[in-house]
Symmetry: C2
Subunit: 210 residues, 2 copies
């Protein structure tokens, strides 16, 4: 697949690098593609990756990963131009400063806001519920961490599922895009345990069945 990474920070860098190593063609979007930071990222990701402008990333890609800091998200998404038919995987969380909570929840979600801003895109929520370090290594001693996804476009969901499965996650369908109202608070569980409660970043969740 051809995947544009919108927001090439820790999460975008981890996912884009691993997908590039897995054979996908990656464009890391950056306002400064020639920066030392972007060059190091592209080198780490290998020959299937390059850096470019957001416009280049969108033009070159059928799938976009959105991994921007929340305060930048609206302007970035609205600046991407026409997204008709593109699959947009929303990995953001609408987190308030100092982890004080979510900007909104319960009656709407970041993903639903993103879907309004990304006119025409096929939005799926995924890769928002664990830290980048778990995205780099979803295996916990033989148990795959679970990655939930949700959305209203079946094809987009299949792509998110495949991309999660390729990384080693156990990918699970949480339903329509409104379930982001549950998956974004679920991200807050990981974040507060890892960052506030002293569990540290090397934690994940597994869905148990019998």
């Amino acid at each position: 697949m051809k995947i544009g990474i919108i927001g090439s920070g820790n999460v975008g860098g981890a996912l884009g690098s691993r997908w590039a190593m897995g054979g996908h063609k990656i464009v890391f979007a950056s306002r400064n593609p020639e920066s030392a930071e972007m060059k190091a990222l592209v080198e780490r990701a290998g020959p299937n990756a390059r850096a470019g402008s957001a416009e280049e990333a969108v033009a070159a890609s059928e799938v976009l990963l959105l991994a921007t800091p929340w305060p930048a998200t609206q302007a970035v998404v609205q600046g991407l131009g026409p997204l008709s038919g593109k699959i947009l995987i929303d990995a953001t969380n609408p987190i308030l400063p100092r982890l004080a909570g979510l900007e909104f929840a319960n009656t709407t979600s970041g993903a639903e806001q993103v879907a309004e801003w990304a006119t025409g895109a096929r939005v799926v929520k995924a890769f928002n519920t664990v830290g980048f370090n778990v995205m780099e290594a979803p295996d916990f001693g033989g148990t795959a961490a679970t990655m939930f996804y949700c959305g209203d476009d079946g094809g987009a969901k299949e792509v998110a599922k495949q991309l999660a499965t390729e990384l080693g996650f156990s990918a699970e369908d949480a339903g329509p895009l409104t379930r982001a109202r549950i998956l974004e608070p679920f991200a807050m569980l990981w974040i507060t345990l890892a960052m506030v409660q002293g569990y540290g970043r090397e934690i994940g969740f597994s869905l148990l069945r019998r």
Copy 2:
């Protein structure tokens, strides 16, 4: 421990029965302690359990489990009388009719509402994130389901942790009572997967570490 079960439905019945079988002294509160349903519950729970009024359950107990349907919760809690010093374990979720979402989230929680209503009680949120069937059997093929708890009273939290651990859960501290703003949406994840997405009730979550 002496434990009063306020709300003797599926959740209260499962927890009270297992705690009675484990040696705790249980009073199942009911408006109709002589009903066939309550007699069957007490018989199932064994010699450490009896049924009584809510007043009897409160008077006899140092720990109260609150497991009422949400719409009844405020009136029931405010009708319990003085609760000074009692440990109140809140297992409720403020779920809207037809699983439409939570009555509130993010900026407050059911647990915080309960703490306002239960004047003087030492409130801890626990046993709200999985169904009663998982409370009856927290083991998934050798892996214990995780039970999160949160609260502002250290002693109350230790009691919740002990009672969860005795049942076979892996009990994990999610922090202060405001974390119910995260644990109640987390309950919605279990509920929607189990009831809406077709996963069925025999699911749970495990916190992974490395």
